[in-house]
C-alpha cells in the first residue's frame, strides 16, 4: 500500500508545474494545457483522499471535475480559435486590447 503523502506530493508537484507553466508561458494553447495539469493534480488528491477515507464522495467529485474540465477545454480552445481567426495571434503579449 502506497502511503497517502506520496500521492499528495505527486499532486502538489503536478499542480506547481501547471501553475508555474500558466504564469510563465505566453502561448495560449500551452496555458490551457497547464490548466489541465492543475485540474488533474487536484483530481489525484481527490481520489487519494477518497481511498484513504473509504468514502466515494471524492471519486464522484473527480468525475464531475473531469466533465467540467472537458467542457472547459472545448470552450477554451474555441475561444483561442476565434481569437486567432480575428487577430492572428495566440501569444498573450499581443492580446492586450482589454487594457484599462
Amino acid at each position: 500500500m502506497i502511503p497517502l503523502y506520496y500521492y499528495l506530493i505527486l499532486s502538489s508537484v503536478i499542480f506547481s508545474i501547471g501553475l508555474v507553466g500558466f504564469i510563465i508561458r505566453r502561448d495560449l494553447i500551452v496555458m490551457l494545457m497547464c490548466l489541465e495539469l492543475m485540474f488533474n493534480a487536484v483530481n489525484i488528491s481527490f481520489v487519494a483522499f477518497s481511498c484513504y477515507n473509504g468514502s466515494l464522495t471524492g471519486q464522484v467529485f473527480t468525475l464531475f471535475s473531469i466533465g467540467v474540465a472537458a467542457s472547459e477545454a472545448a470552450i477554451g480552445l474555441a475561444i483561442v480559435l476565434a481569437l486567432f481567426r480575428n487577430i492572428s495571434a495566440v501569444h498573450t503579449d499581443e492580446i492586450t486590447q482589454l487594457r484599462g
Binding site: F22, I23, T92, D93, I95, Q97, R99, G100
Partner: protein, 630 residues
C-alpha cells in the same frame, strides 16, 4: 346611514380618477357623463344629508384615524351642520350646473378629459374643506382648492398669460396659506386638539393669554385669529392679496364661475364663520376682518368702474362682494355673511356663465366696447344677465337684496365705533356695484353693434346645454333669498349684536335700495340716454381715470417691491452662488470624483493575462494564510 354621507366626497373623487386615468381613451361623451353624473351623485346624497340637518340633526361621523403620533391624533371624518348644509347647496348645486354648462362650452377642446378631471377634483377639494370635522381636513381642502385653481387657471398652458396667471394665483395663495398654517399650528399647541368639537370648548380658556413676539406681548386669540385670517385674505382675494383673482380669468370661463361662485374664494368666509368662537373673542381680529372686507369691497368696486374687459369687471365685482361677506363676518353677523355667500354663489355663477355665453358668440372677444346690441341675437343670455344684474344691484324681491341688506343692517347696528363709517362705505359700494354691472349690460347688450359686420353675423344664442343652466341659475337668483339663512344658521354661529332700535332697519333698507337704483340710473344716463357723457367725464378726470384704469398701479407696486427684488436676488445670489457653486458643484463633483478614482484604479488592468493570474494566486494565498492563521 350616517357613514354613507362619505359618498358626497367619493363621487367627485371617482369622477376625477376616471377622467384622469381613462378619460383620454374613451369618447368625450363618456367623459362628460362621468364628470356631470359624479357631481349629480354627490348633490343627491348631499340633499339627503341636508334633509337630516333640516330636521334638526347634526351629523358628525369619524371614519378612521388618519394620522396618529403621540399627542397628535388626526381623524378623518365629517361634520354636517347647518353651516355645512348651506355650503353643500352652493358647492354641489352651482358646481353641478357649471359642469353641465361646461359640456357645451368646452365642446371640442383637446384637453376635454383633463378639464373635467380637474373640475371634479376641484369640487372634491371644496367638499373636503366644508365637510371636514377638523382643522387638518380644512387645511387639506384649503390647499387642494389652491392646487386645482392653479391647474385650471393655467388650463391653456401653451398661452403664456394663462400659465403666468396660474403661477400668480398659486404663489399669492401660498403667502396667505403660510399664515394660515401658522395659525393652525398655534391653535394646536394652545389647545392640543384639532377636531372642531374639541377645540371650541377650550377657546374661552385661552382668553387673557399672551404670546411674546420680539418683545411685544400679543393676545393669543387675536394672533391666532389674524394668522388664520391671513389665509382667508389670500384665498378669498382681499386686500392686499387680491391681485391673483382678476388674472384668474385666463382660464376657461366656467372655471372662473366655479372659482368665483362655488369653490375657492368663498372658502375664507366659510373658515371665518366656522371658527367663529375664536373670532368672537377677539375685538381686534373682528375689526380687522370688517375693515379689510369693507375697504376691499369699495376699492375693487372703483376699479371695476372703468375696466373694459367683461370678465375682468365681473372678477372685480367678486372681490367686492367677498369683501361684503367679510364685512358681515367682521360685525359678528356670520349668518348674514354666509347668506350673501349663498346668494352670491348663484348670481355670480350666472354672470360668469352669461359672459361665457357672450364669449362663445363673439369668438372669444371680451371688450364690451366691441359688442353692443347683443340683446336681440341672444335673448336668453340677455334676460338671464339682466336678472343677475338686478340681483347683484340689490333690487327688492331678488336674492341679492336680502343678503346685502342683512349685512348693511348689521354693520349699521353693530355698535362699534367704526360701524357707521363702514356702513356708509358699504352703501356707496352698493351704488358702484349697480353702476358697473349695468354698464356691462347697457354697453354690451344695448345700442348698436360696434364690431365688424362679419362678427355680427356670427353672433348667435348658445346651445341649450349652456342656456338651460343659465335659466336655472336665474330662477335660483330670484328665489334663493326667500330661504332665511341667517336664522337657519343661528345654532352654529349665534345671533349678531344689534344696538340700535329695530325701526331703523327700514331706513337702512331704503338707503340701500336708493343706492342701487342710483347706480342703475347713472349707468342708464351715461350709456343709453347720453352716450357722449362718459367720454367727457374721462377727459375731465383723466388723472383719476388713469389710476383706476391701471388698477391703482398695485400690480406695478408689487412687481417693484417683491417680484423685481426676488428676481434680482435669484439672479445675483441664487444662480451664482447656490446654483453654480453648491448644486452644480455637487452634481458635477461626484462624477468627477468617480473619474479620478477610476483613472487611478484602472492602471491595475493591464490586459496581460499572466498578470491577472498572478493577482489571483496572490489573492488565494492571502486567503489561505488568513484561514490558516485563524
Amino acid at each position: 346611514m350616517e357613514k354613507y354621507y362619505i359618498l358626497i366626497l367619493l363621487f367627485p373623487l371617482a369622477g376625477f380618477l376616471f377622467n384622469i386615468l381613462i378619460g383620454r381613451f374613451v369618447s368625450p361623451k363618456v367623459v362628460s357623463w362621468a364628470g356631470v353624473l359624479s357631481i349629480l351623485g354627490s348633490l343627491v346624497v348631499a340633499l339627503l344629508a341636508i334633509a337630516q340637518v333640516f330636521s334638526g340633526k347634526t351629523i358628525e361621523y369619524n371614519i378612521y384615524t388618519w394620522i396618529l403620533s403621540d399627542d397628535l391624533k388626526i381623524s378623518f371624518g365629517y361634520l354636517i351642520d347647518q353651516l355645512t348644509a348651506v355650503m353643500l347647496i352652493v358647492v354641489c348645486f352651482v358646481g353641478w350646473l357649471i359642469h353641465v354648462y361646461s359640456v357645451g362650452y368646452m365642446h371640442g377642446d383637446p384637453g376635454y378629459p383633463r378639464y373635467f378631471a380637474y373640475l371634479n377634483l376641484f369640487v372634491f377639494s371644496m367638499l373636503m374643506l366644508v365637510m371636514g370635522n377638523n382643522l387638518v381636513q380644512l387645511y387639506f381642502g384649503w390647499e387642494a382648492v389652491g392646487l386645482c385653481s392653479y391647474f385650471l387657471i393655467g388650463f391653456w398652458y401653451h398661452k403664456k398669460t394663462a400659465a403666468d396667471a396660474g403661477k400668480k394665483a398659486f404663489i399669492v395663495n401660498r403667502i396667505g396659506d403660510f399664515g394660515f398654517a401658522l395659525g393652525i399650528f398655534l391653535l394646536f399647541i394652545s389647545v392640543y386638539a384639532l377636531n372642531y368639537t374639541d377645540v371650541f370648548p377650550k377657546i374661552p380658556g385661552l382668553q387673557g393669554q399672551a404670546v411674546n413676539i420680539l418683545g411685544w406681548d400679543v393676545d393669543l386669540i387675536t394672533l391666532i385669529a389674524l394668522l388664520l385670517f391671513c389665509g382667508a385674505v389670500g384665498k378669498s382675494a382681499q386686500i392686499p392679496l387680491y391681485v391673483w383673482l382678476p388674472d384668474a380669468m385666463e382660464g376657461p370661463t366656467p372655471v372662473s364661475a366655479l372659482i368665483h361662485a362655488a369653490t375657492m374664494v368663498t372658502a375664507g368666509v366659510f373658515m371665518v364663520s366656522r371658527l367663529n368662537p375664536i373670532y368672537n373673542l377677539s375685538e381686534v381680529a373682528l375689526a380687522v376682518v370688517a375693515i379689510i372686507g369693507c375697504v376691499t369691497s369699495f376699492f375693487a368696486a372703483t376699479i371695476g368702474l372703468v375696466q373694459r374687459d367683461m370678465k375682468r369687471i365681473i372678477a372685480y365685482s367678486t372681490i367686492s362682494q367677498i369683501g361684503y361677506m367679510f364685512l358681515g363676518c367682521g360685525v359678528a353677523a356670520y349668518g348674514a355673511g354666509i347668506f350673501h355667500l349663498y346668494t352670491h354663489g348663484f348670481f355670480k355663477a350666472l354672470l360668469f356663465l352669461c359672459a361665457g355665453s357672450v364669449m362663445h358668440a363673439m369668438a372669444g372677444e371680451l371688450d364690451i366696447y366691441k359688442m353692443g346690441g347683443l340683446k336681440k341675437k341672444m335673448p336668453i343670455t340677455y334676460i338671464t344677465f339682466l336678472i343677475a344684474a338686478l340681483t347683484i344691484s340689490g333690487i327688492p324681491g331678488l336674492s341679492g337684496f336680502f343678503s346685502k341688506d342683512e349685512i348693511l343692517w348689521f354693520t349699521y347696528a353693530c355698535g362699534k365705533p367704526y360701524g357707521k363709517f363702514l356702513w356708509i362705505l358699504g352703501t356707496i359700494t352698493a351704488a358702484l356695484t349697480a353702476f358697473y354691472t349695468f354698464r356691462i349690460l347697457f354697453v354690451a347688450f344695448h345700442g348698436k353693434f360696434r364690431g365688424s359686420e362679419e362678427q355680427f353675423k356670427h353672433v348667435h344664442e348658445s346651445p341649450p346645454i349652456m342656456t338651460i343652466p343659465l335659466i336655472v341659475l336665474a330662477i335660483g337668483s330670484i328665489l334663493v333669498g326667500y330661504f332665511s339663512v341667517p336664522h337657519f344658521l343661528e345654532p352654529v354661529v349665534g345671533e349678531p349684536v344689534v344696538t340700535v332700535p329695530h325701526e331703523q332697519e327700514r331706513f337702512v333698507m331704503i338707503v340701500s335700495i336708493i343706492a342701487g337704483l342710483t347706480g342703475i340710473f347713472i349707468a342708464w344716463y351715461m350709456y343709453i340716454s347720453n352716450p357722449a357723457f362718459p367720454e367727457r367725464l374721462t377727459q375731465r378726470f383723466s388723472g383719476i381715470f388713469k389710476v383706476l384704469w391701471n388698477k391703482y398701479y398695485v400690480d406695478e407696486l408689487y412687481s417693484f417691491l417683491f417680484v423685481k427684488p426676488a428676481l434680482w436676488f435669484a439672479d445675483k445670489f441664487i444662480e451664482v452662488f447656490t446654483d453654480i457653486k453648491i448644486i452644480e458643484g455637487i452634481v458635477n463633483g461626484i462624477p468627477n470624483l468617480c473619474y479620478r478614482v477610476g483613472s487611478w484604479v484602472r492602471q491595475v488592468q493591464t490586459g496581460y493575462l499572466q498578470q491577472y493570474a498572478i493577482y489571483m494566486i496572490i489573492g488565494i494565498c492571502i486567503f489561505i494564510l488568513i484561514i490558516l492563521s485563524m
